[in-house]
């Protein structure tokens, strides 16, 4: 039986979940993470690009080409999930849903006890 993968650190988790909707550039990704977390998670540039660097090295995301017509100095790099990254993101989503289900079940049990 295969062992369940190790949960992603918080910053990596937020990024892969934010990329489930499709490719994003750095600033859009940061805003999407803030939006998903109701403003609770606001990544600094160091955290964002440090995590992106790690996720690229782990093969969970890839850099894609700029879709807009910009000058070289303004060129923005976009990132998207690889098939492995998408699987990991969906596994993490499943883990979080299970966690919430267990907590809710526990709360309901506590309320009736």
């Amino acid at each position: 039986m295969s062992q369940s993968p190790k949960p992603l650190p918080a910053a990596s988790l937020h990024i892969v979940l934010a990329l489930l909707d499709g490719e994003l550039h750095g600033y859009a990704l940061m805003r999407r993470v803030a939006e998903l977390s109701d403003g609770a998670v606001k990544m600094g540039p160091g955290t964002l690009y440090g995590t992106l660097n790690r996720l690229v090295a782990e093969g969970l995301i890839v850099e894609t080409t700029d879709r807009d017509d910009r000058t070289e100095s303004e060129r923005r790099r976009y990132y998207e999930l690889t098939p492995t990254g998408r699987t990991v993101a969906l596994t993490e989503l499943d883990r979080l849903q299970n966690l919430l289900r267990r907590v809710r079940r526990g709360l309901a049990g506590g309320a009736t006890a």
Partner: protein, 193 residues
Amino acid sequence: MNRDPVAVRVYGVLTRLYPARFRDDYGNDMVSLFRDQCRDEPTSRVLSRAVVDLAITIPTQHLEATMRRTTGPLVPIIYLAIALAGVLLTIVGGSNATTAIIGLAIALGAGTIGVVSWRRATPVRETTLTGHWWKFLLAGACLIGLVILSAEVGIEAWELMIAGGLASIVLAGIGLVLGLSHLFNHRIRRIPT
């Protein structure tokens, strides 16, 4: 001529503290993102967040460049060790108020960065009351530091100091009990069913 605001230019200079390879790969993107943030939010808020971000990610990137793997909780542990050294400096600083203030500042600054980086480095898990044990322990340490500092600078409100000392012992005790309970719960959850 560089028309960027001062904050963006200062941030650009600070990104030179990252390892060369990381800076070459992401330095321009980071400055560009910081510029976008300053455009959309008050600069003071963006700056305060950037200071903590730099304090965590610069040592992390250097360690990762040296170790060639992820650092895990190493950076938070280093900051928490520095915070502990700050608390010790405050306690054993003797009658020197300057030493006590420096010790307390180190403890608070490094402790805050340590806790923030710890939370970023660890996976999202179920949080319970026992998961907040460290807040009680930190509050107890800060309170005892304040009491010691007050005594060092010659404040003679003894009733308040005794109350503060007792409160810090209670807070640290609660933190310790919650921490042990948290550890115990974790061990129970790891047992396969």
